[in-house]
Symmetry: none
Subunit: 218 residues, 4 copies
DNA sequence: GGTTAAGCGAGACGGTACGTCGCGTCTTAGA
DNA sequence: TCTAAGACGCGACGTACCGTCTCGCTTAACC
């Protein structure tokens, strides 16, 4: 993100960045988007609401969507639990439940929709969003599939496809309706993605399936 | 959409709408977005490129995304085949193949991404897009699931969830990467959504399924 | 100036320039500079006061000083009388009297000082000011010296030097004090610049000159 | 000016002002204005060029024009010789020659024009400029007229008018053209302002003139 | 010789205006 | 009545300097 000081050695002279101001701007952006919507969110409005100057906003963020992305991580608990629940089905179910619940936290869904939208429209932000948000959540899911694979209870579906199905369904749930639906297909998705059809088709067939899948999505 | 003549009785006086101008505007929008991207697409630019006036554009469309939505249906074949291929698996596979192929037609993916993005940002266009585009494709898929249900080979998954999985995966495939991926999980998705665990399909059935898939997507 | 249509043949399509808006902007600029001073005069403020948009101001003038220059010719009578008063001394005296009086018209002096100042600071405006203002007044004076030369009563001083002396004294009178002085050296300047040492003007001529001056500036 | 220590008793503790820094800032301002012009001269730029901080500039000068005014007295020899040349005509001629020559020293004219311009625009600087620059030069000329009066060879023109004519002509020469003219009316001006017309009109007329002049410009 | 008070470079900050851009509306003249 | 042209009010853009304010450091004069 924009604010990590990273490996700045020592030679910091001059006035320090005001943490107070940073929080004021993030809060202003988060509240403003909830009140007027992303299309009416402006840097000008954020600065005015935060009692800061536009210059200060631009000094630290290059785009209103970047402000919002950082505001999200300050305002909402984005950590996805990757606790071991003992089985792939339980892990996946918890992951889905957490994800859908995040989308129902007041104020979060509009921000997520706006960020995904902006990622389509602004190529630069698109990259930052994919690397700073989407990739992190994919990595969290990968932790679960890796553990399940080690444990041996991952169904014979390509982990990449599992991720595409899981995140695809979640994002479609967010993006394709006007209002966020009240229900979420957590259980049905878990059932579908944890069914182990080894009782039905012979294992030799399944191996054959895997080979094909591997070819199609390496 | 905006341009359907619908039930126009007769009493149209004055100069008629220029079909030539309409196509010029749609073409200009479609080319412009391919060249400079949606964020740099403006009504002003469309009008200039089409040799028309802004007024004329605004008379027929209320938003640049609406121009693009109509341009898409003029420029790309959006009809999804709902031909009966004999089985749910074959129908689904064809539907997926058609859908992913549409996304790979040059120029289409950026437009689809832009439209979905605008639908998040502009509430009015969001409604038009959902009703005029998303709902139509959902209806096309519903034709397949209804047929499969009548035929009896629909796996015991809620048709709504099937649609969410199918479209979620397709849209995530479009939205979550910078470039459109070269491969698409057509076969794996078909396999997952046509497996019938309760029926315990013998290995012979599974082989049959796989054979069909192989034929449909060589 | 900026607004002269010059040699525009005929093909004027589109909405015409609003004369009402033009006057509103000129008036706003003229009033604003009188109230807050030139350094606090901004295009933004002019537009706001005129109820116009900045864009409209910038469409027709490139600089706030250009607005003021045009406002001056609308608000103040800039025509310098070049009427023939019968003698060089009478002509010059009338010219000086008119010029100093213009500087005492409320609101004019601050504008003139600002324009001369801006002409020093902005090279582009400097050229427009010299050609559109200074040169015109020099031409007016040249009319008088030409006439005097033809008449034969021009003292043997280079007309260019006469102009430099006349305008130099007037501008210094405007620029070198905080407040515009109440008195002006009209008579003394006239005397100095109409004395003909060689011709040795008889006292009767001089008395006649003085009489005129006395009448003209009571 | 800003830097005069004036009546500072003694109790100066802490680090002393860096003379090196002062010269660096004055030099930076002087060079910068020559390169980019006064309108593009900024405190920010001066500080950057001088390798100082804005704070340091603001600590000692309140306006960029004040920096320039002090820079002028460091960079150019502003002393006007008031040496006694034996006669009013010779004194005046030397004064004019020196003055016009100063305006032709490379870099000086643009600075003088800028200072006079700023004096019109910024009231505070206007006062400082008039008192710290214009008044001093008027005083220098007054030395000459006083001496001539004592000597008895001052022509019967009000000394104040002489000053207005001399400085008016010099400033107009600086301000009214784009480029500084190559020639200066030194001789013609000297001739005009040292001619003693007592040979021509009768003394009684001239006395009359003087009376009137006295009334007009007390 | 430690204390204390500037001076100084750096640079973040709240402001204000800049000049530009695109919006969506409007007023023309011509087809 | 539609069209191209284009002026208009509007509002945000991203930038530039303004003048102020910490910072951490340096440099003297004083105790």
């Amino acid at each position: 993100m924009t604010t990590e000081p990273a490996a700045e050695p020592a030679a910091r002279r001059g006035r320090k960045r005001s943490e107070e101001g940073r929080i004021a701007i993030l809060t202003a952006a988060y509240e403003q988007v909830a009140e007027v919507g992303y299309h009416a969110l402006t840097i000008e409005g954020i600065a005015a609401r935060a009692g800061s100057s536009k210059r200060t906003v631009y000094r630290w963020w290059s785009h209103k969507a970047d402000v919002l992305l950082e505001a999200l991580s300050v305002k909402a608990e984005l950590r996805i639990s990757t606790t071991d629940h003992g089985s792939w089905a339980a892990d996946l179910s918890a992951f889905l439940r957490d994800s859908y619940e995040l989308g129902r936290v007041p104020g979060v869904a509009p921000v997520l929709r706006a960020l995904m939208a902006e990622a389509q429209i602004d190529p630069g932000f698109g990259q930052r969003f994919r690397e700073g948000f989407l990739a992190r959540r994919r990595a969290a899911l990968a932790t679960l599939t890796d553990r399940a694979a080690r444990r041996g209870d991952l169904p014979p579906i390509d982990p990449g496809l599992i991720a595409d199905l899981v995140f695809g369904t979640i994002w479609y749930w967010l993006l394709a309706r006007d209002e966020i639906p009240a229900d979420a297909p957590t259980d049905a998705l878990t059932a579908l993605l944890s069914a182990r059809p080894e009782a039905n088709p012979g294992p030799e067939n399944r191996d054959q399936d895997r080979d094909q899948d591997d070819k199609e999505q390496p």
